[in-house]
């Protein structure tokens, strides 16, 4: 296993060394002492396993396509932003805008997510074992958001085709978000996703798939005719 120690080094030096080790054939890299530095491990396009043994700052794992990140601490704003494929697992909490605009892959958060989780998603899956904050799922175009705990205000606001599941309480639905009965297939998907991505000690306290609320777009906003004032007003 390759190793990169962040102590006393700039973000550019750390990222350059990660990429150098990948180039030399490393398939697993341990990044020690990340110290909540920003922009670690961005734009990695190879299927390499990268483990960070502490917290990371903003935009960790952004623009990646294929790697498997595991973050032992928490992550700041913009985790895995615009990820194409791969997996990012955070054992702590994540800041605003986690998994924003991802097109594929999986983001797993073992604790809570702050505001704007998965905004403008275009694919992929986001799984939060705890709660999520304000405006999660805003303008989501595709993909799945699963929140095992509670969801904050303006949840799933102005969505297109993203599908959300919430195991706890929804503080407030966003504009044009509606609750729909989950299907048997939904429940199976939830059970299998949680079983696959959450460790047993976390999984056992989470609701069964059939007990999640499903939230989808009411489709009154995303395909409305601007001359249909009544429809627009009702949606708002």
């Amino acid at each position: 296993m390759g190793e990169v120690n962040c102590d006393g080094r700039s973000t550019q030096e750390i990222n350059a060394e990660i990429k150098q080790q990948i180039k030399q054939g490393a398939t697993e890299i341990l990044v020690r002492n990340p110290g909540a530095r920003h922009n670690l491990g961005v734009a990695i396009l190879e299927p390499v396993a990268i483990r960070l043994d502490g917290s990371v700052g903003y935009y960790c794992g952004g623009l990646i396509d294929g790697p498997n990140f595991e973050i032992a601490g928490s992550a700041g704003w913009g985790l895995a932003e615009s990820m194409m494929n791969g997996q990012v697992v955070v054992r702590g909490n994540v800041g605003n805008g986690a998994a924003a605009a991802i097109r594929g892959g999986t983001v797993v958060v073992h604790q809570d997510a702050a505001a704007r989780l998965g905004v403008s998603m275009k694919g992929g899956t986001v799984l939060v074992a705890g709660n999520c904050g304000y405006m999660a799922g805003f303008m989501g175009q595709k993909g799945t958001i699963i929140v095992c705990g509670d969801a904050g205000e303006a949840f799933a606001d102005s969505m297109y085709e993203t599908v959300c599941f919430v195991g706890g309480r929804i503080t407030e639905l966003g504009t044009d978000a509606v609750i729909e009965e989950p299907s048997t297939a939904d429940a199976e998907l939830l059970d299998s996703t949680l079983a696959k991505h959450l460790p047993p000690e976390l999984r056992k306290s989470k609701p069964a798939g059939r007990n999640f609320k499903k939230v989808v777009s009411g489709r009154k906003l995303w395909n409305f005719d601007k001359r249909e004032w009544k429809t627009w007003q009702e949606a708002l």
Binding site: G35, A36, R37, G92, G95, A115, G152
Partner: protein
């Protein structure tokens, strides 16, 4: 952007306040290259007030310090422990003094002099430039105390000078200081309301109104926690804001979560900043850091 930081020492030692705030600000220097400052809450002065006066923006500090010293004698302020460092004069007066008159006398005597802080525990030090420059000039790392705030400023609208730097004292209410990251969009409206009530604004920095607003709320008998909740109702825009009084320390985050704010609490400390790297670089160890929620208000007792 702007960097904000706050630290509350829960131990009995109170020896690391200045060092911790300096380390946090150093990590936040990239968020605000224009100025840096701290509000430090030190040991009790047995009821006396510590007064910090800015001696002008354009040099002549020694001359102004001499004039200030003379003025304090002539008005019988009973000032003692008078000292000057760089742009500031510092002195101690009795707790029973008429602060309004004292401040007015000082500021009337010279348009460039400004009382930057008054408190039984509070001392504010701020200047244009980096946290490293602040340390070089004022040796803030040596300061001992219970809690404090720090700020690095990226100026977006108003002037870059000492007065427009943060933290802001509430100008009138001893031991109340704030730091703010964000933009108060109804600043001009609020400013007009307060000015009509005779309250003076010293700057054109929208963050100043936060200190004035909180002073006003506390003056109405509200608790700090209630005042911060009221802020969510009365102030528009984006704000991650830290506030400290002689006995309390807290934060408020705006209803849209537009600015970052992270906090950590252990048995030994509470630390708040708008980047985790600031907390981690100042306070090594294993603990959780989490992002504040929208509209979250928290207040700790010293």
């Amino acid at each position: 952007m702007c960097g904000i930081a706050g630290f509350l020492d829960k131990t009995k030692e109170h020896s690391g306040l200045g060092r911790v705030l300096l380390d946090m600000l150093t990590a936040l220097a990239c968020r605000g290259p224009d100025s840096a400052g701290v509000a430090l809450f030190g040991p009790s002065t047995n009821g006396h007030f510590v007064v910090k006066v800015k001696l002008g923006n354009h040099g002549e500090s020694a001359l102004r310090a001499e004039r200030l010293s003379g003025l304090l004698k002539s008005i019988g302020a009973g000032a003692r422990e008078f000292s000057t460092v760089a742009a500031y004069a510092r002195f101690v007066v009795d707790g029973g003094i008429d602060l309004t008159n004292l401040i007015a006398s000082i500021e009337r005597s010279d348009g460039e002099m400004e009382v930057v802080s008054v408190g039984r525990n509070l001392e504010i030090v701020k200047q244009v430039g980096s946290p490293a420059n602040l340390e070089q000039t004022y040796a803030i790392a040596q300061f001992c105390g219970t809690h404090g705030l720090g700020h690095t400023r990226l100026s977006t609208e108003s002037r870059v000078d000492l007065s427009h730097s943060q933290p802001f004292w509430s100008h009138g209410r001893p031991d109340l200081a704030i730091v703010h990251n964000g933009h108060i969009t109804n600043y001009h409206k609020l400013r007009r309301v307060y000015q009509q009530r005779g309250i003076r604004f010293y700057t054109e920095n929208d963050s100043e109104v936060v200190a004035i607003y909180l002073s006003d709320q506390l003056g109405k008998g509200r608790t700090l926690e209630d005042s911060l909740h009221a802020m969510l109702r009365d102030l528009d825009g984006s704000f991650s804001c830290l506030v400290a009084t002689a006995t309390q320390f807290g934060f408020v985050k705006d209803p849209f979560a537009l600015k970052p704010l992270l906090w950590a609490e252990t048995d030994g400390f509470v630390a708040v900043a708008n980047e985790e790297i600031a907390i981690r670089s100042a306070l090594p160890g294993a603990y959780q850091v989490r992002e504040a929620e929208v509209k979250e208000v928290r207040v700790w007792e010293r």
